[in-house]
Amino acid sequence: MQDNREVVITGVGVICATAGTVEEFLTSLREGRRGIKEVTLFDCTGYPSQMAAEIADYKPENFFSQRELRRISRADQFVLIAARQALADAGLNRDGAHTGVCLGAGAAGMSSAEVYHRQLLAGKRPRPSLIVPFIPSYATDQLAERYRLRGPRFTITTACSSSATAIAYGAELIRDGTADIMVCGGGEALSELTFGGFCSLQVMDPLPCRPFDAHRQGLSLGEGAAVLVLEDKERASKRGIPIYGELLGYALGGEAFHITAPEETGKEEARIMREALRDAGIAAHEVDYLNAHGTGTILNDRVETLAIKEVWGAEVYQLPISSTKSMIGHCLGAAGGLEAITSLLSIGHGFIPPTAGFEQGDAVCDLDYSPHPRTEEVTIVLSNSFAFGGNCTTLIFGKGDL
C-alpha cells in the first residue's frame, strides 16, 4: 500500500445558474453576478418564495440525444456536462482502470420521479423509466460508464454536505492507494419537493438570498453540478499537467444535536473547522479566505459566524469570508463541489469572491463578508459545508506545487 500520497486537482467542470463553463464561472465570481430569479421550471404560486438560481436557458437537446434523455434526470445531465469539461480539462481519456468516481447527491432524480408521481396521483400510467434515475448512485454509474472508468464507485448522500464529503473521501481513496484518480463532485436539479420542503421550514427568502446580511430572510435554492478530477500528486507531476491546487486536509463530523438546526453556540462547527486545520497542518491565521456555508438563513449565518469567531479569536476581523450561495443559490448536493471550485479559482486567480447582495451585518454577523470582489493573493482556503442531520464537512485547499 502506498500510504499518504498527496492529492491535487487537475481538472474542473461546472454548470450553474451563472455559468456553463469554468471560464464563465470565474468571470461571474469575479463580478459577483447573481443568478437568482423567478423560477420557470415549475409553478411556485402560493409558496412564500418564487425565487431560485435556475439554469434558465438550458437546452438538454444540445447535449444529449432523445434516447439518453429518457433515462437521465436533469441532475444527471448537469453532472455529465460538468464531467465532460473536467475530464477534458485534466487531459484524461476514457478507459481508466484505476480511476474511480465519488459523487455527492442531493435530491438526485427527484425532478423526474415527481413527474412520475404526479401522473400516478392523477390516475395515469406514467412511464417507468422516469424512476430509473431516482437512486442517487445513478449519476455516479452514468458518469463512470460513459468514460469507462473502472475504479471504485461511491455516492455520498448527506444532503447539503454530500459533494464536499465526496471530495474528502475521493482524496482518501487516492491517499491510501486504492485509486490513482478520482472523479468527484456532485449535481443537483431544482425540484418541487425540495422547493416546497424548504418553504415548509420557513427558511426561504422571498427575495434573492442575502447571506450574513442583517435583513436576510432565508436561503435561495439553486441547481447545477461541479466535477473535480483529483489525482495523485506524483502522477500529475509526471504527466506535467497544470494543477488548480491541492487538498490539504478535511474534517468530517456530526453535531449529534438536531435533524435540521445547527448547535446554537457554534461550538460543534468550530470543532470541525479546528479538526480540518489540524489535519491540514496549518494555523487558523494562515487561511487567506473562508468560503462559508453561508446559506442566508437567520440561524445558519449566525451560528457559522459564532463558530468562525471561536476559531479565529481576535484575528477574525482580518479574515475575508464570503458565500458562493449569494450568487448561485444553495445547490444542495452540488453545493460543496461548486464551492470547492470557487475556492480553487480564488487561489489560482488571486481574488476573493464576494457575498453578493450583502449590505450590512448585525450584532453577531459583523465580520468581513466581502461584499465586493477584490484582488488579493490567496494560497489557502477553508470551505464549509453543513447539512441536515448535523453532517458537517470542512475542506482546506492550498496552492500546491508540482
Binding site: 500500500m1 411556485c44 404560486t45 474511480g100 447527491a105 427527484m110 408521481h117 404526479r118 396521483l121 417507468p128 424512476i131 430509473v132 437512486i135 442517487p136 448512485s137 454509474d141 463512470a144 460508464e145 469507462r148 472508468l149 473502472r150 475504479g151 471504485p152 464507485r153 461511491f154 455516492t155 455520498i156 448522500t157 448527506t158 444532503a159 473521501y169 482518501e172 481513496l173 491517499r175 491510501d176 486504492t178 418541487e192 419537493l193 416546497g196 420542503g197 424548504f198 418553504c199 415548509s200 421550514l201 468530517l252 463530523g253 456530526g254 453535531e255 449529534a256 444535536f257 438536531h258 435533524i259 435540521t260 470543532r271 447539512a387 441536515f388 442531520g389 448535523g390 453532517n391 458537517c392
Partner: protein, 403 residues
C-alpha cells in the same frame, strides 16, 4: 493493512430481531418472505415481500421521539444501540463522542416521507405543507438520527451505491478508522420497504413473481425470476484490532481485505476482478465459505457464478456458497445484515442454508448449501454486485485470539 476488528452487531431482519432470534431464523432456514398485507399489491405482478415483523420501537426509543422518526431511522437507532450494547461501549463514557463515528448505507431511507410530502404538495397545494416530513426526506436521516440518539460526533456520513450500498459504507468506515479519524465506527445498512418502493421495483421488472413455481427468492435456482424486496438493518461496530485487544472485548472477526471495482460490462469479468483484488491484498488465504450476493435475479446470480469461476478457477465449484437473500430478501443495503450473519457463521461454525434451491441452474455452477452444515468457518468471502457496474468484495477472517 492494519487489521480492523468487528466487535459488535445489531440486527433487525425479516427472519428475526436481535442476534439470537436472527441466528435461530437463519439456521432453521426460516423464510422471512410473506404475502404483503400492509399495503395493496393488487396493481403489481409481485405480491410478496420480506418485511420486518414484530419490531417494537418502544424497546429502544422514547414514545415522544418515536413520533418524529420514520421507520428507517427507528431501525437505525435500534440496530446501532444493539451493536453498541453487544460490544459493551458507551459513547461519551468509554469513548469520547468525537472519536466515535457512523457511516451507514441507506436503502431508500427517506422515500416514505418524500412520497408523503410530495403527495401533500400535489393534492393539497403549497398552503398546507407538513414541516415534520421534510427533514426526514433525506437519505442521511437514518444515520443522522442515530448519531443524535446515541451522541455520536465523529465522522458521520451516508452512502448509497446501488446493491452494494452497505459494503460501500463499510469500506468508507474502515478507511476513517485506519486513517485514525475515529477510534470506533458504526457502520452497515438500513432498508425500509415502502409501498412506493415496492411499486418502483415492480415497475422496473426487477422482482420475483409467480410464473408457475411460486413467488420465491431462489438464488442460483434455474427457475429464479427476480428478487423479493426486503427491509431491515444490519449494523456492526468496527475498531482497530489493537484497540479491541487492549479493551479485551470480544472480536467476532477481522476484515482481512476489502476491494471495490466498477464497470457494467462484462459483468462476470468485473466480478472476477474485484475478487482477485481482494485476494491479492493479503497473503494467500483459503476461503471456507462464500456469502453470495445472488439475489434470485437471473442475470446477477449468473454473473456472480461466472466471476467466481474466473477468479477462483478450479476452486470455485468446491467452495461452499450460501445466499441469505433466499430468506431475507433483497434491499440495496442488505449487505449490513449479511455481514452480521457472516460474523455469527464464523463464531458458531454453522452455515445457514440457501432455501428454495431445488433445481440447480447449470449457469450457476456452484456448491450451493441446501441444508445447514456444521463446519468450522475461518474465512468468508462476501461479495456485493450491482449490475449497474459496482462490485465489492470483503474477505472476513475469524478471530482466533491471535493478534
Amino acid at each position: 493493512m492494519e487489521a480492523v476488528a468487528i466487535t459488535g452487531m445489531g440486527v433487525i431482519t425479516p427472519v428475526g430481531i436481535g442476534k439470537e432470534a436472527f441466528w435461530q431464523g437463519l439456521i432453521e432456514g426460516r423464510d422471512g418472505i410473506e404475502e404483503i398485507t400492509t399495503f395493496d399489491t393488487q396493481p403489481f405482478r409481485s405480491k410478496k415481500g420480506a418485511l420486518v415483523r414484530g419490531f417494537n420501537p418502544k424497546e429502544f426509543i422514547s414514545p415522544l421521539q418515536i413520533r418524529r422518526l420514520d421507520r428507517a431511522s427507528q431501525f437505525a437507532i435500534a440496530a446501532a444501540m444493539m451493536a453498541l450494547a453487544d460490544t459493551g461501549l458507551t459513547i461519551g463514557e468509554d469513548i469520547p463522542a468525537e472519536r466515535a463515528g457512523i457511516i451507514l448505507g441507506s436503502g431508500f431511507c427517506g422515500l416514505v416521507n418524500s412520497e408523503a410530502f410530495h403527495r401533500g404538495q400535489v393534492l393539497r397545494g403549497p398552503a398546507d405543507l407538513n414541516p415534520i416530513l421534510f427533514p426526514n426526506t433525506v437519505p442521511n436521516a437514518a444515520a443522522s438520527n442515530a448519531s443524535i440518539a446515541l451522541g455520536i460526533k465523529g465522522p458521520n456520513s451516508t452512502v448509497v451505491q446501488s446493491f452494494c450500498t452497505a459494503e460501500a459504507a463499510l469500506m468508507f468506515a474502515c478507511q476513517q478508522l485506519l486513517a485514525r479519524r475515529a477510534d470506533c465506527m458504526i457502520t452497515g445498512g438500513v432498508d425500509e420497504l415502502s409501498p412506493i418502493l415496492y411499486r418502483g421495483f415492480n415497475e422496473l421488472r426487477l422482482t420475483a413473481w409467480d410464473a408457475g413455481n411460486g413467488e420465491r427468492s431462489a438464488p442460483y435456482d434455474r427457475t429464479r425470476n427476480g428478487f423479493i424486496p426486503g427491509e431491515g438493518a444490519g449494523v456492526i461496530v468496527l475498531e482497530r484490532e489493537q484497540d479491541a485487544v487492549r479493551r479485551e472485548t470480544h472480536i467476532y472477526a477481522k476484515i482481512h481485505s476489502i476491494a471495490a471495482a466498477g464497470g457494467a460490462d462484462p459483468v462476470g469479468e468485473n466480478v472476477a476482478r474485484v475478487i482477485a483484488t481482494v485476494l491479492q491484498k493479503g497473503e494467500r488465504v483459503t476461503i471456507d465459505l462464500i456469502d453470495g450476493a445472488g439475489n434470485s435475479s437471473p442475470r446477477l446470480d449468473a454473473a456472480e457464478a461466472e466471476g467466481l469461476r474466473l477468479a477462483l478457477v478450479a476452486r470455485s465449484a468446491g467452495i461452499p456458497i450460501t445466499s441469505l437473500k433466499s430468506m431475507t430478501g433483497e434491499g440495496i443495503a442488505s449487505g449490513g445484515i449479511r455481514i452480521a450473519a457472516d460474523l455469527l457463521i464464523m463464531e458458531r461454525g454453522v452455515i445457514p442454508p440457501t432455501i428454495n434451491y431445488v433445481d440447480p441452474d447449470p449457469r450457476c455452477d456452484l456448491n450451493v448449501i441446501r441444508e445447514r452444515r456444521t463446519v468450522p468457518v475461518k474465512t468468508i468471502l462476501h461479495t456485493g454486485i450491482s449490475l449497474d457496474g459496482t462490485y465489492m468484495a470483503i474477505l472476513l477472517e475469524r478471530n482466533d485470539g491471535v493478534s
